[in-house]
């Protein structure tokens, strides 16, 4: 079966290609994988500041840093049926490790330390996603990531698990929303693509079909 099918141009990025792209993207913009209060967000190139200035005074001194590892993807069909969230038709799963540093209490005067009572939480997160067209015109366009569902593992309490999934889904939606893949990645910047079909997640890659502009 041909790659182009009934079209003239085919572009596909494989799982490893997406992984490499996400690696390059989040290495260039690491703050999209780390969100922290002012005690942690001392360098906003590395950590996105969570603004807590409007919180009442008695909550000041509480701090948090939420960090994601650089995600990896599994594009349908699923690599293993035992995955936390196996991708279905036209879906892919983004997997990442999450570490939450929670600072309970005001900083102390200990030299070099953030002080307070620090709680560390680690778990795995899977996000079921679908590729979407963000914009498309002859010769230009880009593909984005739509978050379908988030699931975490390693948290015993169902209620806390759901709260974390809710919060992390919001953060991840924002972070993945920045990970835009222009058509020219699919076409190696050498061919001006007019999108006719896709993006489609299938056969372990994201695929687009079209014609030369």
């Amino acid at each position: 079966m041909s790659l182009t099918g009934t079209h003239h141009i085919f572009g596909g990025i494989s799982e490893t290609g997406i992984d490499h792209f996400l690696d390059v993207f989040f290495t260039a913009r690491p703050h999209l994988l780390a969100y922290g209060t002012s005690a942690f967000a001392t360098n906003q190139n590395l950590v996105t500041l969570i603004d807590t200035s409007s919180l009442p005074g008695f909550l000041l001194g509480l701090g948090a840093l939420i960090r994601f590892s650089i995600p990896t993807v599994d594009i349908t069909p699923a690599d293993a049926p035992t995955e936390l969230l196996p991708p279905g038709a036209d879906q892919f799963t983004v997997s990442t490790d999450v570490v939450i540093d929670f600072l309970c209490g005001p900083p102390t005067d200990k030299p070099g330390g953030r002080g307070g009572h620090q709680i560390l939480l680690r778990f795995k997160l899977a996000a079921l996603c679908a590729p979407i067209v963000l914009n498309s015109a002859p010769g230009i366009g880009s593909i984005g990531i739509s978050l379908v569902q988030v699931k975490i593992s390693g948290i015993q309490d169902k209620g806390i698990e759901q709260v974390l999934e809710c919060v992390l889904a919001r953060i991840l939606q924002w972070a993945l929303g920045q990970a835009i893949i222009p058509f020219n990645v699919f076409t190696l910047d050498g061919i001006s693509l007019t999108l006719e079909q896709g993006p489609v997640a299938q056969d372990d890659q994201i695929e687009v079909f079209g014609d030369i502009t």
């Binding site: 003239h8 290609g17 913009r29």
Partner: protein, 266 residues
């Protein structure tokens, strides 16, 4: 599986090649030497257009009916005395009453060497196989398609037309020379016979073949490091990918496609 796969069917590759023909633009070369019995210098400008693509595994692109559009500028030097007999008008004397004998001088005609320029533009078609050649050069990934062998260029029709046009140009160039009127037809016929179709093809064939030998169209040329996202704020710098490997092959399934694969650095 490669990181990025790009496939183009024959229709798309045809368009890529037509774009590459336009990108190649007009090429120029010049030569000089004997042209039949004459000395001539010749300049030629050539461009390519059109053609239909046939893809053949593993790396061949057949291009049929490519138009080779050429413009010739020829400069001839021709010694007319080699074609026309030198002659003298003898002295003629007449006895005129009351005046005496009056004689005209002997007039000898020596034919000059003349130069004339000739411009001719036309096109011819050829078909040839090209090889797909991906390579990294100076920080750019390039996919060239290079001709495999020099095709036969059919110049017979063009040569006859050029010969006729040269005759007309020659006639115009020498028409102002005194006494040539009665000899003009014979001169043109003698010159054209001396050049002949073989003379034209003997000049044009090698000259145009220079343009076709090693003919290379570039269908892809992009930097190995490609910016994919611009900077979008103080904490969001440019995002670029580094294409570390690139290949291009022809695959035949239910239709033929040029398949380009690339790896990007993590």
């Amino acid at each position: 599986m490669s990181d990025i796969t790009l496939a183009a069917d024959q229709t798309a590759v045809t368009r890529l090649l037509h774009d590459a023909e336009t990108l190649l633009g007009t090429l120029s070369k010049s030569t000089s030497g004997s042209f039949g019995p004459f000395f001539a210098s010749a300049g030629a400008s050539v461009s390519f257009s059109g053609g239909t693509v046939t893809l053949t595994p593993p790396r061949t692109i057949g291009l049929a009916n490519v138009s080779l559009n050429y413009a010739l500028d020829l400069s001839f030097g021709i010694d007319l005395s080699k074609f026309l007999p030198n002659f003298c008008l003898p002295q003629v004397c007449v006895d005129i009453p009351c005046v005496g004998k009056v004689c005209t001088p002997t007039i000898c005609v020596t034919w000059p060497t003349i130069g004339f320029n000739f411009h001719y533009a036309d096109s011819l078609r050829f078909s040839a196989d090209f090889e797909v050649l991906p390579h990294l050069q100076g920080g750019d990934w390039i996919i060239d398609v290079r001709i495999l062998s020099i095709p036969a260029l059919d110049l017979s029709v063009a040569a006859a037309a050029i010969l006729t046009a040269i005759g007309i140009a020659l006639g115009a160039a020498v028409s102002a020379i005194p006494f040539i009127g009665p000899l003009l037809g014979a001169l043109v016929a003698a010159v054209l016979a001396a050049i002949g179709v073989a003379g034209i093809t003997g000049l044009l064939g090698p000259l145009l073949s220079l343009f076709v030998a090693g003919l290379t169209f570039t269908i892809y040329k992009e930097p190995a490091i490609q910016q994919v996202l611009p900077a979008s704020g103080p904490h969001d710098p440019v995002v670029s990918i580094d294409v570390t490997a690139l290949d291009a092959v022809v695959q035949q399934t239910d239709k033929a496609e040029l398949v380009i694969t690339a790896s990007i650095a993590a």
